[in-house]
Symmetry: C2
Subunit: 436 residues, 2 copies
């Protein structure tokens, strides 16, 4: 049997089956897909155009960013330490008002795509204006994406009326039908910016295309209180009545659901995109994400935009989600390592409508893979590669990123110091590890 590329690695975490670390494994890639997963000894029977030896690395599926606003990379660092309304009204909205255009969307998304690739993110779920230009940026960077057909109840540079937004949506679905890299979701912005009538149209559009619905829900307590005041019910209750709460929904943030709302999400098989940095930085609150995971809700991890995060680093975001979730649960045994790595990969892929193609190292799936170098000062001794990957590794330790089997990033961190000796430190750490 012949493969294009054979990756021989010390460890791999396939995500399916869950809770599994493979050791001394070989992953073969042919025609952009994973074609073989076997023991390194068995791999000697394969021929390959290219063999990559990763003796000190762990290979995982490409990370999935379950919520981004990619063009906002241009607005990074704007208005720190402001209240949400000050931030929006004095900084973000005026800037967007001035700059918004297809060019802004494309070039901002290009900056985001580069940061994501260097962070091991190979697929993102984006919502912003001018999604076709965002999709173009991700395609140009050899990434996959789901982009939203945005629906929002006010005029913008992109559309004036609700009808206009739905016309743009139809064009977007048509353009990307059957595309291998771009998939389309319906993106009603939030319960407080889209009316009942438009939401009913969202449901029908999503059903027609079997497309995900990508929506900010229960981000702030204010949103919940306003919903109670205006509709006499909480946001997720209202959305359930309208048919939005279903197995295609990606409920973003979801910081303030009560037990009834969580049950509605769980029973419907809806997904949640948890964005802990953004929720903390904007003081939105503490998501009961451990409860949602216990209830069987599929939880994915999102960065949100760099205007409220300000890093597109899913590895760091997942670490934060794990630690924060333990504290909110008041239980250090909550948010287990493998559950969190799953959320950052296959959980994310399933949430955003890509579970059939990416998110796990399985034969037939796209070879979207990331290798992380663990024999480094930040991650030695490597007692447990999954734990070290989640809690200790930096994105700068990513040595390779492949999409569709093509190497799209290789990274090398050169640290020179008379006091830093990588190899002897690795030996020292191993000595003590063996002494145990």
């Amino acid at each position: 049997m012949h493969v294009d590329t054979l990756i021989r690695c010390r460890w791999a975490i396939p995500m399916h089956p869950k809770n599994t670390v493979l050791e001394n494994v070989a992953i073969g890639v042919a025609d952009g897909n994973i074609s073989v997963i076997c023991d390194q000894n068995q791999a000697q029977e394969l021929t390959a155009d290219e063999i990559i030896e990763l003796n000190d690395h762990v290979v995982i599926p490409g990370l999935v960013n379950a919520h981004s606003h990619a063009p906002m990379n241009i607005l990074r660092g704007m208005g720190a330490d402001l209240s949400l309304m000050d931030w929006l009204q004095t900084k973000i909205w005026p800037a967007e008002g001035k700059l918004m255009s297809p060019e802004f969307a494309y070039e901002g998304a290009k900056l985001a795509a580069q940061e994501m690739l260097l962070s091991g993110i190979t697929c993102t779920n984006d919502q912003y204006f001018f999604s076709e230009h965002i999709a173009r940026a991700f395609e140009d960077c050899a990434m996959k994406c789901t982009v939203s057909a945005l629906v929002i109840g006010f005029p913008s540079a992109m559309a004036q009326t609700t009808d206009d937004y739905f016309k743009c949506a139809d064009a977007l679905f048509e353009r990307y039908q059957g595309n291998n890299h771009v998939r389309i979701s319906v993106g009603p912005h939030a319960p407080y910016t889209v009316d009942d009538n438009a939401l009913s149209r969202v449901v029908r559009l999503s059903e027609r295309h079997n497309a995900p619905i990508h929506m900010h829900i229960d981000e702030t307590d204010f949103e919940v209180q306003e919903s109670l005041r205006l509709y006499g019910m909480r946001p997720i209750e209202r959305l359930a009545n309208l048919g939005i709460i279903n197995e295609r929904l990606i409920s973003v943030h979801t910081v303030h659901p009560n037990d009834h709302e969580m049950a509605l999400l769980a029973n419907a098989g809806a997904h949640v995109a948890h964005c802990p940095s953004s929720n903390l930085k904007l003081a939105s609150g503490f998501s009961p994400v451990h409860k949602m995971m216990q209830m069987g809700i599929n939880v994915a991890i999102g960065t949100d935009s760099v205007a409220s995060n300000d890093k597109l680093d899913i590895l760091a975001e997942t670490r934060l989600a794990a630690m924060l979730g333990k504290a909110v649960a008041m239980d250090p045994t909550a948010m287990k390592v493998h559950d969190m790595l799953y959320a950052a990969t296959l959980g994310g892929a399933r949430a955003i409508g890509w579970g059939d193609r990416i998110g796990s190292i399985e034969i037939g799936k796209a070879a979207d893979l990331v290798a992380i170098h663990l024999a480094d000062i930040n991650t030695i001794p490597t007692t447990d590669p999954a734990t070290q990957l989640l809690y200790s590794a930096d994105r700068s330790q990513i040595s390779h990123v492949w999409t569709d089997g093509k190497c799209v990033v290789s990274t090398q961190l050169l640290q020179n110091s008379p006091y830093f000796h990588r190899e002897s430190s690795v030996k020292l750490a191993k000595k003590w590890q063996n002494a145990l």
Copy 2:
């Protein structure tokens, strides 16, 4: 005027005066100390053995880690997802029991010192067994440190009785008297492991040497409840009665102080070492650190050990402290950027008894400096260097670390990708920044 090294940098954040970003500044170093701080134009009158041009960088004082257990780098990644008692009883204590020795302390601290240096940390405040061997590791890595003369109410490989611990303490103070790189604190482990009698001796020892007291206090609610049960008062109330709560105290963690305890700390001029990752990961709770800062308590940032963190990354830790503090305060305007950078540098230095020598870019202080490269994909556009440094920069963007004016680390992150173009991305980001 002649200097040994002249660092010409785009930005510098001196920390004193606070809330200040200097632009196009030159920092001159002579005999290991900062000897000049001036405009780059004025610097043309200086002669220098070496000139370093940092056109896209921000220079800050070396970061200060206000709480570490350096030798535990050998135990990194052990026992994730366990409860505190399971973790201690089944993992950490057996491992320490088996390995504990001067060699373990020295070699573990060496690994930690290397990780810290690469993270821009030039001084740490450590508490563990065999402190003289830990100090030796930091000296060997050209770092500064405060190490604890440990006092703990049970026997160890280092000492059998309370008297033994105090003998070790006396030897430690004697050995390092007048040392330029190592200072000694008295390190009573925690209220629940040191009795009243030993604590009174701690106070006298600290007074005699004018030395900091480095102690875990109010880490868990359990600790508070036990103190109420055994002593009829909360830990800080008991410690105040014993004379421990004074301007030399570094109160570590301090997750569960009530208003009265916070007032005791504030009125005494005591310092707090906040360790947010550890508090989250062990589910210890949420520190009211924003309240303590509002009350004027000097708050510093610590990593704790890699067994509960698992990174020695003060930049990331400070970012987390800022974001988490906003959420706990339910106020996105809390935990302001410059206050947080201060906590990571001069706040830390003052807390651990080094405020006279390090923590700020001031003439006469040690040239312990860190340069961070901001013209990188993670930190463009650089709208505000202080914000970008805190919220967006990774430790891998640190290009130089100097201690006593000597370059001890230089780092280069090489990212190759057909989709990543550093220079054109920087230009693109600048174009949009200028369009605003």
